[in-house]
Amino acid sequence: MSTVTLQMSKSDFINHLAEILEVEPSAINENTDLTNLETYDSLMILAMIALIDEKFDKVLDAEKLVEAKFVFQIMDLIGRECFH
């Protein structure tokens, strides 16, 4: 297990998230409520868990991700130290 904190810029994270959600990166920001998007569903939760595991080496609980509706809440779950 790596103990190094993997980091990413906020805009890169938004780009990755937009790719999963099949929307333009300009369509979402930290204050977007993802549950309002047409493409938000249970498969999307799996894709987010996979993305966060791949980019940050963190396996987030699905339940917590479901509760986190806004992009900023998801970034809080990942940990602010992971973004620059």
Binding site: S42, L43, L46, A50, E54, L60, A62
Partner: protein
């Protein structure tokens, strides 16, 4: 964690049977809108599945596989000392199905025969049990019959499970071989995840009742308490946490490296999960054979099914060192490093 090594034996044959009846997932417009249907098929990777008729049980599929294997290897039925039936779809609540298979296969009454109630991890557990009987207890030959018919307990109207599962039965022969390559196993369990994959009613905690068989609305569609509930996200969480670590452990226990492994044969859970696991392992995707596109997730039969449909030709030409990895319901997970060398693999049988 149970890390085990067995010497002086080999996996000498593997056969699998599937129902002839093909179900095409792209036709399920009644379940999902076109776009969601395609998205689900893309993510699970399952385009079609084999489904039994109402009369055929897991034991019937395993029987066909066992007959095919006995014919192909030419072994004497009297040389089989152990029969393990691995399944979560037995013929009856009692008796166990294994003794019935002993009789139907014409094996001696001196055969030890019992059922093992495990799903996704069951094939690897079954192999470990058979190996222990042959390696330490002096059994001459052991037959592991692993098969399931999830079509009988999955609701066709539950979007979380309806397009995923298929039916299949397998037979694997273990026998003594002095110069056989050692087999390595890691067996694990975590019952705290019991609710991630569950059929709640119909056992003795919540016996069958008029209410338990009534189909009700749930988040993912409609199902009864006697049909499978699956929390896909929780299972995904568990798998990516535990399985890569377990595979690394068993490979290390075997004294080799992932680079030395010719193929990683996973329980065929779904494409998205297997792709992610492989990426996390840092292992080449091309060396993770898949049968799930045409046969779906067949519970404890996925690993032998994948070996038969995807690796049969390759294994005829030269030996291969495989990682076998099963994970899911229980929660229960198990990994093994095994070498298949001169393993008899008859063609897939259709029932």
């Amino acid at each position: 964690m149970a890390l085990i090594t067995f010497d002086g034996l080999m996996i000498s044959g593997i056969a699998v049977s599937v129902p002839a009846n093909v179900l095409d997932n792209s036709q399920r417009h009644d379940l999902l809108k076109d776009r969601d249907l395609q998205k689900t098929i893309d993510m699970t990777g399952v385009t079609s599945r084999r489904i039994t008729d109402t009369l055929t049980c897991s034991s019937d599929l395993c029987l066909a596989a066992a007959e095919s294997l006995i014919a192909a290897t030419g072994i004497a039925r009297s040389s089989i000392d152990l029969l393990v039936f691995v399944s979560q779809t037995p013929d009856y609540r009692l008796p166990a199905t294994a003794p019935l298979l002993q009789q139907r296969l014409g094996l001696a009454t001196s055969t030890a025969a019992f059922d093992v109630n495990l799903g996704c991890s069951g094939y690897v557990y079954g192999l470990a049990i058979a190996c222990s009987f042959v390696s330490h207890l002096g059994a001459s030959r052991a037959l592991v019959l692993a098969g399931d018919t999830p079509s009988k307990f999955v609701s066709p109207y539950d979007r979380a499970t309806a397009l995923l599962f298929g039916d299949a039965g397998s037979a694997t022969l273990i026998e003594p071989r002095q110069d056989g390559e050692a087999l390595f196993f890691s067996l694990n369990s975590d019952g705290s995840g019991e609710n991630s994959l569950k059929i709640n009613a119909g056992g003795y905690r919540f016996p069958s009742s008029a209410a338990s068989v009534t189909v009700q609305d749930v988040n993912s569609g409609r199902r009864s308490e006697e049909q499978l509930h699956m929390d896909s996200a929780a299972i995904f969480n568990f798998t990516i946490r535990e399985v890569p670590r377990d595979i690394r452990n068993v490979v290390q226990h075997a004294g080799c490296k992932l680079d030395d492994i010719d193929f990683v044969v996973y329980h065929q859970a779904n494409k998205f999960m297997l792709d992610h696991l492989t990426k996390k392992l840092g292992y080449p995707l091309a060396k993770t054979p898949r049968s799930l596109e045409r046969y779906g997730n067949t519970s404890c039969a996925t690993i032998p099914l994948t070996i038969v449909t995807e690796l049969r030709q390759r294994l005829r030409d030269e030996p291969a060192r495989l990682v076998l990895s099963g994970f899911g319901v229980g929660l229960s997970w198990a990994s093994a490093v095994v070498t298949l060398n001169g393993c008899c693999i008859p063609p897939l049988v259709e029932v």
